[in-house]
């Protein structure tokens, strides 16, 4: 599994378009499925921790946030893969951020109009989709190097993987914390309010990541999703471990 992921990254970063094309032919569908389980952005590459922890006090909030992020991710990946030859390399990050922020504004309007309750409960975190590192990370690592169809499928897979992780987090926290699921009372004998508080968020995520690692049979990553972070090259804590190797090889 790990080998496969490394291969995907290598071929995506390789300058030869032939290679990329060959891989695309082999499985555009693979771009879609990898984000759901194998490279799940939240549970495996550990990106987008802020919304994962913040909004998952209810299962419905988790789904809402996940779908909103998926929408932004698909649109921004689509636009960025179309514009990848137009955007100058030096200013690509600000360009990506503006594109992403525009779609975030769009989803804010849509949600305010059609789902005002969800809009109120997500609140500030809806605007903060702009700085969700999954979106910027996918733009930088995938959409700016791949074709339109592959980028959209990649976004769809990553978005659904994120939504699933948020739904799982939200369900666990809502059921244990309030004894309800989607607002339906489950008549549990004991509930722990701690789980819908901030401490419970950290705890639940820690346990879920540990379980996922246990099931997948690999050891937990030592780093938070730094490898996929667009700022990795500048980050002091990341450079200490892996960046140096890269610098030497370059």
């Amino acid at each position: 599994m790990a080998d496969n992921a490394a291969e995907t990254k290598k071929s995506a970063s390789a300058p030869e378009k032939e290679q990329v094309r060959k891989k695309n032919k082999k499985g555009v569908f693979g771009e879609f499925t990898k984000g759901i389980i194998k490279e799940n952005p939240t549970l495996v590459t550990l990106l987008g921790m802020c919304p994962t922890l913040a909004v998952t006090v209810m299962a419905s909030n988790g789904i809402g946030m996940g779908l909103a992020t998926t929408f932004v991710l698909i649109c921004s990946n689509l636009v960025i893969s179309l514009l990848k030859n137009v955007i100058p390399k030096a200013v690509r990050l600000p360009c990506f951020i503006v594109i992403i922020a525009s779609f975030v504004t769009l989803i804010e309007f849509l949600m305010k109009g059609y789902l005002p309750e969800l809009y109120d409960s997500l609140g500030l975190y809806l605007s903060l989709i702009t700085v969700n590192c999954i979106i910027l990370g996918r733009a930088e690592a995938f959409a700016s190097k791949n074709g339109v169809l592959a980028s959209v499928l990649d976004a769809l897979g990553m978005g659904l993987g994120f939504t699933l992780a948020l739904f799982a987090m939200g369900s666990i926290r809502e059921i244990i914390g309030t004894g309800k699921w989607f607002g339906i009372d489950l008549h549990l004998p004991v509930t722990m309010t701690l789980f819908i508080m901030s401490a419970g968020g950290f705890f639940t995520l820690g346990v879920i990541i540990a379980l996922v690692n246990r099931i997948a049979g690999r050891s937990a990553p030592a780093e938070v999703g730094c490898a996929a972070c667009p700022n990795a090259a500048n980050c002091p804590s990341y450079n200490k471990t892996e960046g140096k190797k890269e610098a030497v090889s370059e």
Partner: protein, 191 residues
């Protein structure tokens, strides 16, 4: 009096990292050593205050009169990105010592949700100019406090013998949950 309440509230009760979950990436990524935690905290505090200094006038005097409040996300993130770039360039040219201390952390801050979060929060809460600045200062100090405390906790966690499946990030997250639990003791401090 209210300004002190806003400041302490932002540092302790509504701590950006531990109760609002903003800036989790640097919180978990840069808190491995005390000195880098202090550097990151100082850089975030500085950028938060200065970003508020820039975004508040733009929101109040440009976006509101023109009825463009909905553009605040795009406007604020652009201002923050521009500002961080500018600060980095100025520090590099003029204040070499400060650049050596904070420079490496600056590019990380552009995509830090705590900075965008605090500017939007100031607007959402309807704070005035001074209140906004104090809230940003408190947010930055609270972020630094959490980072510094956690860097201490983390060095202990790393040397502990935890079960294999919990090694690495899971153990760190559970330690963070306990630190967050201790900060819950401050809730309701100001009603």
């Amino acid at each position: 009096m209210t300004l002190i309440v806003i400041l302490l509230n932002a540092i302790l009760v509504d701590n950006f990292v531990l109760s609002k979950f903003m800036g989790i990436c640097p919180f978990l990524g840069v808190s491995k050593k005390l000195d880098s935690a202090v550097g990151m905290g100082a850089a975030v505090t500085f950028v938060m205050v200065c970003a508020t200094l820039c975004t508040y006038p733009i929101y109040t005097f440009i976006l509101v009169p023109m009825g463009l409040e909905y553009l605040k996300t795009i406007a604020f993130i652009l201002i923050i990105a521009l500002f961080v770039q500018l600060v980095e360039m100025i520090l590099k040219k003029k204040v070499q010592s400060l650049y050596n201390a904070l420079g490496v952390y600056l590019p990380l801050i552009t995509t830090n949700c705590a900075v965008l979060g605090v500017t939007i929060l100031n607007v959402d809460k309807g704070f005035g100019f001074t209140e906004s600045l104090i809230n940003s200062l408190g947010g930055g100090l609270g972020f630094s406090l959490a980072l510094v405390i956690f860097s201490g906790v983390r060095s202990r966690v790393n040397s502990a013998d935890v079960p294999k499946m919990f090694k690495g990030v899971p153990a760190t997250l559970i330690a963070a949950s306990i630190v967050s639990l201790s900060f819950m003791g401050f809730s309701g401090l100001f009603g």
